[in-house]
Subunit: 334 residues, 4 copies
């Protein structure tokens, strides 16, 4: 970390800063130019709040030389992490399609979709049971009952399953679930992340819709720091001024995350766009951007889905998307 | 709710939509213009997902006539809600200053600040014990120990106290805390909101940094719908492209919230700006915009605060701000 | 256009609104439901300011049934527009690579790059001569002299050329330029757009970095309404809170624009990301999203470019990108 | 300017960078820490494109010690600039209300409003004649005819007048106009700014709705660098995800601009919010935040205004706002 001081810093404040930095077990290398003094800090700066120092009167700016995420950092772990979810593998050249309905509604619904997406090549089945809904009066998901139905579909198809957790107290219900999803609204639910750091299950961590790429990596770091190294990152759109799509899918996040981190990156074009006919082109674009997987909402009858129906696609649409994804991935190898 | 159909809607899809709407216990009044058909829906539309219908092929747009927040809605509760926090009152013409350190560090620290801000006119003492930190390696707060220290300061000064909860599991520790704060990152932690709806304590609900004003009201609705009507809303800045301040303080939210809702509105200029010297002008602006209270970070030595120090102000600065707020409020009555 | 009134609208205000709407040559079809009245407006509503009506006390909401862009609208022009730029064709299945340096610096520079990108398959040569720079002290481009050098390169290679105009007064210099670029900062320079509407040259219209997709189409409409139908739209990233890339490339804009309009859509990954190593993956993603062309900055020595160097790529990088784009486009046809 | 290099920079690239920096007439002071090398640059760095250097492979980050705006910088001009607009004065403790209709429609309209706002204490009359409209089919203003009407109102009341310019070619019509307004969409119309730098008239420069505070100052610098020092900055809201108001009024920009620059700062609550009933509270908030003036749209009959009507207020509303602004300003002096 490098601290650049303003011209002619107040000596009393500089002494305060220096003393505080030393109390944080940092060694200070000061270099004095004609117009500015620069403090180079050596030691473990990951605990240091950069904003704190930046806001001091005598400080012009602070620059991190090392990103504060250590376990997620590609610098220290150059090889791609491969996450196994049941028999499926994601990352390090392994690509997986994750598919299923937004909400699980009935055994018949989840099982028929599971069969269909498996046939089309999906490697993992998704289905929501705890639903984060803006309105308290909206359908909140089948909850424990939904978990049971999802596990029925797992048994029937052999597909590993992923579903979203909304609170630590629900963790007991996830015993046979293969991967735990943390939704965008919970990306900075740090108590939940700490608990998942103690779990041995893969975690699918969605980017908050107003979180930066580095904040996503810091949230992953919470899980990794707890000892759980099976984290998959998910880009699902960020909130901007544009209203033509529900969110703005930030596909540059895919190569940026791959540059910064060794963790696999998955893209969710369904929630990002909120528009069914954009799912196919955005899946193609995500694959071309180099992602390790795509998560797509598939429903057997979008018009009747209890939630998020319009962004869902039918099994036959999914089949075409899966087929074209494969062709694209082959072409990209050339 | 009004559904505007596209020209020449597919009859099969229209029939599907109509059937589904009726299954939601809604009565449909159809009116046919030359170029468009409009469906007026009568009944309880608060459970209806507007995005679902909007995304159908045959639908041009959907307009809610009634906002989906009922309990928070001024239309149905024209009188201002006054929330009592110990002896303090907020809303309905009652204004309160909430002050204290970002993080509680020691008994001496919290007690000396408490004495100082009480003398300057603060009505409620704040102090963080569970700290939502971006980095897992940063100081996470004194937690249970901090609660004890905060209660010491309460006993010593008689000031009611507010502190942030980060997870349902911490709720047991809040028995003697006078008001529970829900931080920006947890504004859509719906499971937490549901629990707080069963509590009898006032809740200070901060706006998420990427949440709209209506989403804030929907989150308040979660608490109100559970039976707890003691909710105070807090504007604390939203995330934008501007980097001169940590967030962009959206002061228009104050009169907008007052127009839409009967709940009191408090402003946090410390976190919104992240810059100590902006706290005074933004406090003045917040008071002039008509807010019911201001929450300010006060520290006895900003340079040594363990977190968020640079945005804190010293007790003597707070004293000046408190005095000027009072003068301003008097002037605004003219 | 449909105007939805609030419950029990003030009769005097309703009469005012009705009179004003009639004065705009609109026919009003009123339909009265139990809880709301809806006014259907028939006639040319493209001149109506929707915000004006929306803000009236008696109005709940206003919904446009028809987008206010008529000439750019696919509804009225279902076939793809193909724009010819010299021998190059863009749109309607025709794909073109546009390449060249950010700024033209010397005859040798522009000619050598032109030769190189032509060999790799670029169909159009780009090169900046009027440079919109944030700082008045930064290099402002070679201006008239740069136009001459660009035309030398055109003569030497036979490639059609495109460069940015910054003010109407520069138009005389564009006589032999094949396509006129309107930069993001000028997307709503309406006087300039009107002048270009009278031109017979193709216009490459870049999306403003804080403009919505519909605003881009409204700006295109200014040119089309003037009689010039040779407009190419360009997505080049929007401004968001994310700082890992210079802007956030909104690739969903490609299919959204194709759905709304018949005009060709080109993507600029160089300016969107501002990072050289992201140009290739974002070019691939743009092609997969279905764009009609990609505009890439190519420099013979990025480290020495006078401006925007770090986002430029070398001719050999461009050659690889061009080759892979072709493979991708072939794969997408399957 | 300080350039912080990555660990173990490539020697060849470092040599390239060093040579280029020297070619820019900069002296380099290199300081080598254990883990990083820092280059301190001495000389005129205002011409240097910081993004260019930041994007080099060997560079970790670049920090400007001095802001690139020199003439607008308070560091070099500590005293407040006072701008005279006819008999009115803005800045350095002088406060002015600017009021008038969005669009000038008729002599009767502009003159009656002028009389009214003068009586209420407005110091400057505003009125739009060239209107930047999103749609080419919307009313584009009375243009030259409108200028004449505005000057009639000036003659009748003695109030100095301000109106917006949209293109350099219109400049000749501004001979008797007292202050030239540059709209948000033209804040980075650099050719226009250069021309205004050669003018001797005051310029009211509005912040672009997606421009940072520092970009606003860079645009002011274009005018100042040309020799025209009579620049007034105007905060008018920025584009965010929030839709309850047309834009998000960034009131922290007022003290931030006052800290960075000596130029006066005016606030436009009418365009920022787009909602008439928010104009009064936001005017009060702007005054409390310390602005040097407020610009308010006033119409004699909002419901019939040709544009922007709903955000206008009537003369009697303006009178109350003017009176309360005065009371507030007096209270703030205490």
């Amino acid at each position: 970390m490098v601290v650049i001081l303003k011209e002619n810093p107040d000596p009393k404040q500089l002494e305060n800063l220096t003393r505080w930095l030393k109390s944080q077990d940092l060694v200070i290398h000061s270099s004095n130019g004609i117009h500015q003094t620069v403090l180079g800090l050596v030691g473990d700066t990951s605990r240091i709040d950069i904003d704190l120092i930046k806001a001091l009167d005598i400080v012009e700016d602070v620059v991190r030389i090392q990103d504060p995420f250590k376990s997620a950092n590609r610098k220290f772990h150059p090889l791609d992490t491969v996450v196994e979810v049941g028999p499926a593998r994601i990352g390090g050249g392994n690509f997986a399609l994750i598919a299923g309905p937004c909400s699980i509604e009935s055994e018949e619904q989840i099982c028929s979709i599971a069969e269909a997406v498996k046939k089309s090549g999906a490697a993992i089945l998704r289905g929501g049971v705890f639903k984060p809904r803006t309105s308290p009066y909206a359908f909140q998901g089948l909850r424990a009952e939904g978990i049971k139905l999802l596990l029925e579909a797992k048994k029937a198809t052999g597909l590993p399953v992923v579903t979203e957790i909304m609170d630590i107290s629900q963790l007991d219900l996830f015993g046979e679930i293969d991967m735990i999803q943390v939704g965008a609204r919970n990306m900075q639910n740090f108590e939940l992340l700490k608990q998942l750091g103690k779990s041995d299950k893969p975690v699918l961590l969605k980017r908050g819709f107003a979180s930066t790429i580095k904040e996503l990596l810091m949230s992953a770091e919470y899980i990794l720091a707890g000892g759980n190294h099976r984290v998959i990152l998910c880009e699902r759109g960020i909130r901007t001024f544009e209203t033509a799509t529900r969110n703005t899918l930030d596909l540059a996040a895919v190569p940026v995350l791959h540059n910064l981190s060794h963790l696999p990156v998955v893209v969710d074009p369904s929630h990002a766009t909120g528009v069914a006919k954009l799912v196919e082109p955005m899946t193609m674009a995500a694959v071309a951007a180099g992602c390790d997987g795509v998560m797509i909402e598939v429903h057997n009858d979008p018009a009747h889905a209890l939630c998020d129906g319009p962004q869902s696609i039918l099994p036959e649409n999914f089949d075409a998307i899966a087929r074209r994804s494969l062709i694209l991935r082959e072409a990209l190898k050339k």
